[in-house]
């Protein structure tokens, strides 16, 4: 593949998988809205966002497969890894509703969907922006495309966050509840790990402090406009999805995602 920048660095495989898994898992999760959206336009919006996210995941898995040069393909990574091999943030695998006991399932709550899309895309727009100027040219090429898409997702989620947060008493209360529920999971963005350390020292152009400043500025700016209160609770348990330690929800999501490919290996349609 031709690329605009010189290849002077190479992203660790586990970091590429982390980026890809984030996109795949949120893409699959949001695709649950297909046919169930609160209004037709938002049904289309979530399907389109999933299309972008799964497209990003495919480009990244394909890059991993080409570098591995071991006969693996994008499908190997999406369909034939176990849950503990996935490196996505725990935030992204959670169902579209507030906390419930164990495997209990609630109705899909659009407040959770919008709030999560907002918190994630506010991280990814600045992160892709950094990676697009980084030393791994193949990754930079994917990041330059993903940046455009993440910025648009951010604008969509931000608009709805404000519309609902600054809407009726009910919509405001539901947005605040969603924010209070999801916020503790965002601490994982900033927790130190071997994965982050290896990525930072690989010459990818990652500036964690600038990223955190951008994320907080984006989040605070929107929450203020939405009239929502940023939770201030100190981090308790910090989730470790990026290290492969997940909630029970990932296993259920992957079962659905992977069942067809596992039942019919090599099937084409």
């Amino acid at each position: 593949m031709d690329a605009s920048a010189e290849q002077v660095a190479q992203a660790p495989t586990e970091y590429l998988l982390h980026l890809a898994d984030n996109a795949l898992i949120l893409g699959q999760r949001n695709a649950q809205w297909c046919g169930h959206g609160p209004i037709l336009e938002e049904d289309l919006a979530q399907a389109n966002i999933s299309l972008d996210l799964i497209g990003q995941a495919r480009l990244l898995y394909d890059l991993v497969a080409r570098r591995a040069d071991d006969g693996s393909t994008e499908d190997t990574y999406a369909y034939f890894r176990e849950d503990s091999e996935f490196r996505n943030y725990t935030l992204l695998e959670l169902p579209h509703h507030g906390p419930l006991v164990g495997y209990a399932q609630g109705d899909l709550d659009y407040a959770v969907t919008i709030t999560r899309n907002f918190l994630y895309s506010a991280l990814m727009a600045p992160l892709w922006h950094q990676l697009a100027a980084g030393g791994d040219a193949d990754l930079a090429a994917i990041a330059a495309k993903s940046f455009k898409e993440a910025s648009y997702h951010l604008r969509h989620a931000r608009d709805w966050l404000i519309k609902l947060g600054d809407g009726t008493e009910t919509s405001h209360a539901r947005m605040q509840a969603a924010l209070d529920h999801l916020w503790p999971y965002t601490h994982e963005f900033w927790s130190d790990s071997a994965l982050d350390q290896r990525a930072q020292s690989a010459g990818l152009g990652l500036e964690p402090q600038e990223l955190a400043a951008d994320w907080h500025a984006l989040v605070n700016d929107a929450l203020t406009e939405a009239g929502l209160t940023c939770p201030t609770t100190a981090p308790g348990y910090v989730t470790q999805g990026k290290q492969g330690i997940h909630s029970e929800h990932l296993s259920r999501l992957l079962t659905e995602l992977q069942s067809l490919a596992r039942a019919h290996p090599g099937a084409q349609w």
Binding site: M1, A3, S4, L51, L53, L59, H129, K145, H156, D214
Partner: protein, 193 residues
């Protein structure tokens, strides 16, 4: 990289087989976008290069959206149109520089408008992927440009600028839905990318 990202198809640059190369470019004008058939892939700006890569000719395309399901169809259509003319080519994909709606040709923009799709506004330089600097608060504006900063989208039917966004997403990844308040018609807007 064979292209600077501003011209979609430069004049043939390879001395050998320049005639074949020109012929391929001409034939590519007949390959239409699978989802918006009124414009060609050349109008769309996805064909980045035509080159000789031993042992055959290669057409280099760049994806639009990362997840655009039409990409495979585009590659298949290129191969079949050229095969019908007796030319065997290989289609390969190049990601960088990232496709931009700024590469849609002037004639492509006219065809989109005639078809009822408002063509994309040119992206402002402030939205370029590689500008940086400023405080975090200033960068918020780069990541989430305020609505006021985007120009009004004129209605492709009546030309009125009195239009409003009804949905940021539409029937394909590349479009948003608008409604014209002058003629009351809904229309698609090709989003700047």
């Amino acid at each position: 990289m064979s292209d600077n990202g501003t011209s979609t198809h430069a004049a043939p640059t390879h001395g050998d087989g320049g005639a074949t190369e020109s012929r391929i470019w001409t034939l590519l004008e007949q390959v239409s976008d699978p989802e918006i058939p009124v414009i060609s892939l050349l109008d769309l700006g996805v064909v980045r290069a035509v080159r000789w890569a031993d042992p055959g000719w290669e057409v280099v395309i760049t994806p639009t959206y990362s997840g655009c399901p039409a990409m495979t169809q585009m590659a298949d259509d290129i191969v079949s149109v050229l095969a019908a003319a007796g030319l065997s080519v290989r289609v390969c994909t190049q990601l960088a520089p990232a496709w931009s709606t700024d590469w849609i040709s002037e004639s492509g923009r006219c065809k989109l408008r005639d078809y009822g799709i408002a063509p994309p506004a040119m992206r402002s330089p402030g939205l370029a992927a590689h500008d940086s600097g400023g405080t975090a608060a200033q960068r918020v504006l780069r990541f989430v440009p305020r609505a006021a900063a985007s120009p009004a989208v004129p209605c492709p039917r009546c030309g009125s600028s009195h239009t409003h966004l009804s949905s940021q997403f539409g029937s394909t990844a590349c479009k948003a839905q608008y409604r014209c308040q002058a003629c009351s018609e809904p229309f698609d807007y090709f989003k700047p990318y």
